[in-house]
Amino acid sequence: MTLTADIALESRDVAVDLVVETGETLALLGPNGAGKSTVLAALAGLLHPRGTVALDDRVLSDTGTRTWVAPHDRGIALLAQEARLFPHLDAGDNVAFGPRARGQSRTEAAATAARWLDEVGMTAHAHRRPHELSGGQQQRVAIARALATEPRVLLVDEPLSALDAEAAPEIRDLLRRVLAERTTVLVTHEVLDAALLADRVAVMDAGRVVDTGETTRVLSRPRSDFGARFAGLNLVRGVASDGALLMADGRLLHGLAESPVADGQPVAAVVAPSAVSIHLTHPHGSPRNSLDAVVTELEPHGHLVRVRTDLLSADVTPAAVAELRLHRGSAVVLAVKATEVHLHPSRPLSLA
């Protein structure tokens, strides 16, 4: 299912042109108020945008030909910021709602619901009402409810923002598992969510897409100033090896794993540029990671200079740039404390 949208909503000053390929997760990344949720509502058919939305050959809305497919006929499920479970139904009936509405019998729908509740680890809570569940549990049920309708496209709106810090990593893990191979548009203002869940990222600012491309490229080498300011983190992909990240070239990056990862599993390391320091020789002492790199670019970043290398970007003072005589092509050593390297389970490398 390839989702294409070329839409505009004048009243909200939003105009975007998006393509999401079959099985791909596209992250719409941007600050609050950038128009991300508006785009989702337009794709779901909850708003009436100008322009066209199509799923493969099927036109869902086109103001030119006055085509309009109602939300319930689109096969597009929306997973909202808050779980929005129906308060008058228990968890099982919430999940069974979609299959029932799509014509399954009561028994079939109950079986479908049971299967998806199991998938998200909520079988034991099937008979609980939403108000008896924690925020994380509610979001699990909401995920099961959206997937139980077998949507052709899944729209996910800031799924972790309403959760406390403890529940967020679990739900992120669950999402990573269920979004794989599913055509998804994920809205988030968290660079980390985009880094860990998306194949491609479209950076949105003030209602427009300012940069779009493969996740690692957009996050580590943003093409727009806005993307650079907003995203601006280092993302290194590899596989887990004895609690560290093993890069493709065989070097290790030591860090802290947010949740346990088995050796050989794909992982992503996230490092803030401010946590990376630059040296000309291997420093003595504490940093566990000191890696050889070559400077590729120098650019102003607020009061600092962002030094881009073939491995990680680092934010350093202009004085340091002068002292180290940094220029394009300089051979440097990057030092990062292991405590500043955050390791997360990630999508398989083949998709990266």
């Binding site: 929005r84 308060p87 008058h88 979609g98 799509r102 409810r145």
Partner: protein
Amino acid sequence: MTRLPSLTIPRWLLVPAALGALLVAVPVVAMALTVDWREFGPLVTSEASTDALWLSLRTASVSTLLCLLFGIPLAVVLARTTGAAATLLRSLVLLPLVLPPVVGGIALLQAFGRRGLLGDTLDVLGLEIAFSTTAVVIAQTFVAMPFLVLSLEGALRAAGTRFEDVAATLGAGPTTVFRRVTLPLALPGLVAGTVLAFARCLGEFGATITFAGSLQGTTRTLPLEIYLQREGDPQAAVALSLVLVGVAVLVIALTRARRDSLVAGAT
């Protein structure tokens, strides 16, 4: 148990609040104290009285059903539309609420009476509405429907469209959403509105006597019977009034219990 919140309310508010409560309580208690209890049984079981009570219960029930039939769709339309037309429609639907009931009765007579706007049409169809039990039901529905619409519309607006949107993206068509999401979520408001409407039907007087008249067993509901008795036998009027108070208290108690269980399940 009710506990007086000591910090959040200014204490002086308790004085007018108590006076207001007394204004309602004293007359009701006075009725109960002054009624001749030895004569109570015979007074309320006279043929005229039981006729009136039975007619009141029947007509109020049918009228409440009609209120639901027309009022629920009206409330949904009003709650989910905006613009000048909706504002106009709302004012129109709520008109009976602010209109003196006797004026409502005259308006109904001008519409459905034999010499009214639709009189000839109804005549051709062999229908004679004015001064029949049908007229009682129409009068009660006319005055009571706004209570249902107002209460349900408030509940629908408070519930918002968040859950309806989710239901639609899960593949539920408008009718399924209405049946399985909209109505259940607005149920407390619907129950409250139904109780109000039923109570209003039961107490209807002005529009009924104007539009339907006062024929024993046909159009003379309990309030009309009470008014009539007051002329000749004040004690009977007080006794019948107490019956009406009893019915009202019973209805409120029953729905309160039911609504509490609903609200507990819905939060």
